[in-house]
Subunit: 162 residues, 2 copies
């Protein structure tokens, strides 16, 4: 059990490798957080900024599956896609591409640490193949989507809907 | 057209990021090299060390597909798996795990540069999430499999079988 609850996501750039690490606590079990990342009916309700509408077009949350979704806002579309390398109780490992920059591919890993007392810590890592790509992702405004998305997930959990 | 033909693979550890880069020339077209990496009947005849027998168990060489194969030698088995993030004429992007070390996941990218005069240069990158994992992969004897595998592919190309 750690002393501080991270109710705001810590978003950190690794110094040695071109990775972003996100750490965030939720009032949830590990199984609930796994479901929040794999059940399309739940995932589509929280991922991304609060003023986006998510449309999941392909969703195979299993080892070897594929995923695609579109975020809609004011007539604009932002498309994302990847494949699930591993989906297990221990972790999700997947690839991630924003189709507006199709050459960029990140390898993402998410795991869920039981903190006790009904809290679980999400550990998420996005690995890019260059520091330039990593820093571009960091400066893209991703933090807004991360914070607003996790706040939506907090609400779903509090309402018993995740 | 470059001045030197790389008939032996150059295997290089990147200094800044935990990646391995392999460069190797083949007397082939880009389309032949793409086929050699995606057609299971061809791929299974050259990948890995020369004294291994490859058994492909899952093979979906398309964006969003999955792959698995087993290498057999002297009653031992070595299992590998991953998913295809992108399969296109431009490149293959896939994940890679050796199941003997299931926590390790590399993000692999392969592209095919037409050098003219019937030669194509393969550019392959394996990105790991730590320098320790990258260096472990380098010291695992992978160079033997790389060199022997590409020599088998040279033979298939020379025999008109790839």
């Amino acid at each position: 059990m750690t002393t501080t609850t991270l109710t705001q996501a810590a978003i950190e750039a690794d110094e040695r490798v071109p990775a972003i690490r996100i750490t965030r606590d939720f009032k949830a079990t590990p199984a609930q957080l796994l479901k929040a990342h794999t059940d399309p009916a739940v995932f589509s309700r929280w991922i991304g900024p609060k003023n986006m509408r998510n449309e999941i077009t392909v969703w195979e949350p299993r080892t070897g599956g594929e995923w695609r979704y579109v975020q809609h806002r004011d007539g604009e579309e932002y498309r994302f896609r990847g494949c699930f390398h591993e989906v297990s109780e221990q972790r999700i490992v997947q690839t991630f591409t924003y189709e507006g920059f199709p050459d960029g591919v990140a390898l993402e890993t998410m795991s869920f640490e039981d903190l006790g007392n009904g809290y679980t810590r999400l550990h998420a890592q996005s690995l890019c193949d260059s520091f330039e790509a990593r820093d571009g992702m960091l400066s893209s405004g991703m933090d807004v989507g991360v914070h607003e998305g996790y706040a939506k997930l907090d609400d779903l959990l509090a309402q018993g809907e995740a």
